[in-house]
Symmetry: C2
Subunit: 213 residues, 2 copies
């Protein structure tokens, strides 16, 4: 049992080291030697857990997906819409597995935003939540869920790009909080607006509540 626990810890340490190296250098330029050094494990230990660099990359992507939190239902659908972004910003700042995985799947490379699919997926999710919010009377009249969701996704991408370009990724949650504080007054009715949590620590609070529940 102690041996098994140690094996699990070693595997996790290798995965996190691999995610760090993939996230910084990309798949092709990542060196197994750097992963070994960062994880503080021997080559033998690494190849006991993973057959190849390719398998290691796939394991990073799978582990990130396994770590992804389930949608945490809230009374206000508008809060869930905000949480989509705040939780992602928190995870992007704190989870090296997520950053490594995004880089590996080509969604966090130099030019990730020139591909349409992530925009469409996020916009669809956001639109669905805002349509439910509108149905519950949470939105101001005249609000167009698809327009607002598309705008927030585009802005999010820009905020993320700018934070990376200015080397201020650690500031992502504060910047995302500013985005929602600017956008939501034009979208939500006052009763909803007053109840929304859009503060920088929101992502951590949602994840802690989900883990505790």
């Amino acid at each position: 049992m102690a041996t098994q626990n140690r094996a699990i810890r070693t595997r996790r340490a290798i995965l996190e080291a691999a995610a760090t190296v993939f996230s910084e250098h990309g798949y092709a330029a990542a060196k197994v030697a750097d992963i070994l050094e960062l994880a503080e494990v021997t080559k033998g230990a690494l190849y006991f857990h993973f057959d190849s660099k390719e398998e290691l990359a796939r394991a990073v992507i799978d582990a990130q997906a396994a770590d992804a939190p389930p949608r945490a239902a809230q009374a206000l659908r508008t809060q869930e819409f905000v949480d989509l972004g705040m939780v992602f910003a928190h995870r992007l700042t704190h989870s090296v597995l997520l950053r490594g995985s995004l880089r590996l799947t080509g969604e966090s490379g130099e030019c990730e935003l020139n591909r349409p699919s992530p925009y469409r997926d996020w916009t669809r999710q956001g639109t669905a939540l805002l349509e439910e919010a509108a149905g519950q009377g949470e939105l101001l009249p005249g609000t167009d869920p698809a327009e607002t969701a598309g705008l927030v996704v585009a802005s999010y991408a820009g905020v993320h790009m700018m934070a990376r370009a200015l080397d201020e990724l650690h500031d992502l949650e504060r910047r995302m909080s500013a985005l929602y504080r600017h956008v939501m007054p034009g979208v939500a009715v006052p009763r909803v607006l007053a109840a929304l949590d859009m503060a920088p620590g929101r992502g951590a609070r949602v994840l802690a509540a989900a883990a505790g529940g």
Copy 2:
């Protein structure tokens, strides 16, 4: 005189053709033969005006700068803040010289947004306008000009990237209008908000007024 006018028209036709080819292929891959075909001029005519591809590229950048409109003063500084983006969006959609110039100066390549300088320049301009706006009582209490300007610049970059990724650059003015319509209610006092022109045709109206005045 007629000859001179024809020379000016020919020079302009070559510049616009060059801007189109540079904007689509970048400097290195741009072929002089494609520029000749698009401009419908002979090689002799092109080399009468421009010594080399390099000189042609410099001339595109210079012509774009000469075309750039001066800042059009408005009674409301908040309107000038909105106009920064609406005029740029209009020009980006309609001016091949601007698109060619941005591509040549590396600000519209695949990865333009990974460089900090355009963000900083635009944010500085926006912050200065919003600080003047705050001084004139145009903004809601608690508004942070630097935060709002930074957010709008980041969002603008994201909106532009998303419009390109989805191949809907023609929709840029409508998307930028949506950005301002979402953000300004949380920034401007109602009296100012009611007077702001944030509609998609705003860029064209500002340029027409400047040309007429």
